[in-house]
Symmetry: C2
Amino acid sequence: MDINSENSMEQSILDAAEKLFLENGFKSTSTTQIAKEVGCNQALVHYYFRTKDNLFNRIFEKKFGDFFQVIFDTTLLEQLNFTQKIRHICESHFDLLNENPKIPMLILNELSRRPDHIALLREKLHVLPEKLFEIMEKDMQTEIDAGRIRQVNFMDIVLTMVSLNVSLFTLLPMAAQVLQIDENQQKTLLAYRRNENVEIILKYLQP
Amino acid sequence: MDINSENSMEQSILDAAEKLFLENGFKSTSTTQIAKEVGCNQALVHYYFRTKDNLFNRIFEKKFGDFFQVIFDTTLLEQLNFTQKIRHICESHFDLLNENPKIPMLILNELSRRPDHIALLREKLHVLPEKLFEIMEKDMQTEIDAGRIRQVNFMDIVLTMVSLNVSLFTLLPMAAQVLQIDENQQKTLLAYRRNENVEIILKYLQP
DNA sequence: AACCCGATTAATAAGTCTATTAAATAATAA
DNA sequence: TTATTATTTAATAGACTTATTAATCGGGTT
């Protein structure tokens, strides 16, 4: 049944660890908990990954890499006009977060508390976004010259977009609990804001 | 020298604990660390506050209360016109965060990981913002009727404002490290974004 | 069968953490 | 002064953590 049954336990541990790390963070997750979640002996976690740090880094780097890979993917971008490009980038970013709603908090926490991970991020961010920035900055200059948008840096758009999108998945769950908003209302609100965030950025760009 | 020297040790512990909790969060801060920071015996932390939870809650509730008190203060608001009101609310919010840049992460973390604190937040948020919402929603209706702004909920503005401002203090330190932006550049960028965030909201409101 | 070897477990060392207790010290009152 | 009370410390119990070690299990090979 399993193509690689040798890997199944290793993968189970990775899955359980990912779940728990995302839920409770690095410090609050113990290898004992992970083992219990998997249903195996605690020593097995160390047998496969030696240390808790190794296990965490393995997951973190994977998630992290996939995450930025998707964000900075430009393959579908070329054929769109400027407004469509903005919409596509912003909505792709939203959708990615929607599929990984707990990633931002993990990244924010572990990156602020464990500066050694910064190197990893710097590495990713030095190579990946170059293409995207190149395309967008060229495009924006054309729009600016034609008087169709204001004089703004693409970096400002990125910051605005990330702020608006990420906050939806960090602040909203909290707000929902406080204001007693149920699951369905939350989904409706998210769908509404997915579009609204694009509008905010487009309005912001108007001359 | 001290008016209440009896309190000075208690206060020292509170100060050290606040610093460490803000820096490292609840779980990653030990009473032993707090004592070391103060320069006293570890048992003393428990003598004054009995449990680490008590100590944390004391700090959390205080910080928390002050925080929302300031945000929802409406005393200076009455005499301003609509645009000025928006600007005042947004810039006050920014300034408050600027003085307490680590509060958002603490609140986000502890609130998402310890749902018992939600009750506290709900309590605060049920009483405090009523006045503000009352003023603003009335004002906005006037503006909408006069065709000066679009049909938007004040809640949308609040969400946008909080997203933009909070993210500056959560995402930017990370981004600064990655992009090797120094202190001065960061300050410049913050000052720039303080105003830009207001502009984003005002543009968003344009019909 | 005996053997091998990777996977798994039980046991445990060594360390940290919270919280308590009893003893020591400082401050105050009689 | 002495008695009383408050503050501070040293010591430690008990729970939990990470990581290691040696023993066991089970399937495949010879």
